[in-house]
Amino acid sequence: MINTAVSIFEIIGPVMVGPSSSHTAGAARIGNIARRICARDIKRVDFYLHGSFARTYKGHGTGKALLGGILGMSASDERIRDSYQLARAAGIDFEFHTVDLGDAHPNTVKIIMQATDGETFEVTGSSIGGGKVVITSINDMVVEFTGQYPTIITNHLDKPGVVAHVTSMLSSNGINIAFLKVFRQARGSQASMVIETDQEVGNDVLAELGALPSMSRIVFIDTDKQLE
């Protein structure tokens, strides 16, 4: 396999809390992304662990790392070790379950978060090696992004012009789109865009996007500097 775009800080790095890049660092990263997708105070979180995650999560601290991510910790945060106590202190209930998600990647977790406002969010992601992750589903909508680029996720009404509005707004702010995928549940119903960009996206741009008609929600996931 020829992959010339290997940064030397992927070789001497990432900086992470051990013991395993896939079972610990990647798990923290998935939890951290899930938290930002939920973007509100969480009162309970359930983790459904599949495959190798299910079999070895205790010895690898996978549970602590997932929960640490939910609490906002990066993969290099040494408080991950104490995340169970910190979650309890923050009044967050949590439970780990083992589950068979079929032919999902061996290191996959489905996270269900209940927010204090009564909303529920579901995020599924896989840890695919070296601390890298891929998010595969949000609230039953199939998606695919890695968090290696700044990522904007929209929830909007599926109608003509929304995508064009968003892309032109980004370009006028000097933001280049690296990858763009559009998903919808049915024609004219709720839809979602996953936009991975080359530049960081400022709060002003995000607010502008969020104010578009037909836009119900914007989530922004910036890159994890610690995982570089």
Binding site: I2, F9, I12, M16, P19, R55, T56, H60, E78, I80
Partner: protein, 290 residues
């Protein structure tokens, strides 16, 4: 353009531009990432400080890994090495440092994956021990990290650094090759000598399987970091003495990849073979996984 896929190209670049390996690496990273030279150097210095910090913490006598199988060995060896030992002070120091990083890793402490978490002790163990005992400057130590990165990058591009794909030879083998080249560079050896040391180091660990007890990064991983650090130092000394590798580094990398592909999945991080299915390991696995 300073991008390279193979050691042969890297050596050619060093020769054509009269640059050392670390300088080519910095120029390549500047091109690829758009970062400045200072930013790249600064980031590598930061990685080096974190490595030193994980060694310092890992030398404590009361470390306990999450799985409970390791902890305190780095301390034991560092005490022993001050007075005794067959191997000499520097070798024992490198080994105790390599153990320290792997023990802190297994205890959910902070480490720099180099190139992976499972093999994170070898590069810092060798570089920090040599810096201390040979009185090399911090600049020289950080330069050595760029040389280690060059070796790891060539392996990542042409083979794999993952135990699940290539067995332990891809993790500890690669790290040992990285550390060997780094050590040669610290001593002022030529780029060719760095590649000879890396080639011999990787050859020495060719075929090493990944067989973690209960699937945890503890046994045999921690002590394999120890022996791989020694392998790196021996190979660096051989290269500095003028001994060449009969097989060029690029070809050794290809051989490592082919061996990895032929390895049964049982011997690639799945804990289904090797040490992982010995009676002692199975008994422990049954207890911890319940």
């Amino acid at each position: 353009m300073y991008q390279f896929n193979h050691a042969s190209e890297l050596l050619q670049m060093c020769e054509n531009h009269k640059l050392d390996i670390s300088e080519v690496l910095i120029l390549a990273e500047m091109e690829e990432s758009g970062r400045s030279r200072d930013a790249i150097r600064g980031l590598m210095e930061k990685q080096y400080q974190i490595m030193k910090e994980s060694i310092r913490k890992g030398l404590s006598p009361d470390i306990k890994s999450v799985g409970g199988l390791i902890g305190g060995n780095a301390h034991k060896l560092s005490v022993y090495g001050q007075e005794k030992g067959f191997c000499g002070k520097t070798v024992l120091k490198a080994v105790s440092y390599a153990l320290a990083v792997t023990e802190i890793n297994a205890a959910m402490g902070k480490i720099v994956a180099a190139p992976t978490a499972g093999a994170s002790g070898i590069v810092p163990g060798v570089i920090v021990a040599l810096q201390e005992d040979q009185k090399y400057s911090d600049v020289k130590a950080v330069e050595a990290l760029f040389v280690a990165a060059a070796i790891g990058r060539i392996i990542a591009i042409n083979a794999t650094l993952s135990g699940a794909e290539g067995g332990c030879q891809a993790e500890c083998g690669s790290a040992s090759a990285m550390a060997a080249a780094a050590a040669v560079n610290m001593a002022g050896g030529s780029p060719e000598m760095c590649m000879d040391a890396a080639a011999v180091a990787l050859k020495g660990l060719l075929g090493l399987v990944c067989d973690p007890v209960a699937g945890l990064v503890e046994v045999p991983c921690s002590k394999r970091n120890a022996s791989s650090a020694v392998n790196a130092l021996i190979c660096a000394d051989m290269a500095l003495a003028g001994i060449k590798s009969f097989i060029p580094f690029d070809e050794v990398v290809d051989a490592m990849y082919r061996v990895g592909r032929k390895m049964s999945p049982d011997l690639r991080e799945t804990a289904q073979g090797g040490c992982a299915i010995t009676p002692t390991a199975l008994q422990y696995a049954k207890r911890i996984l319940e």
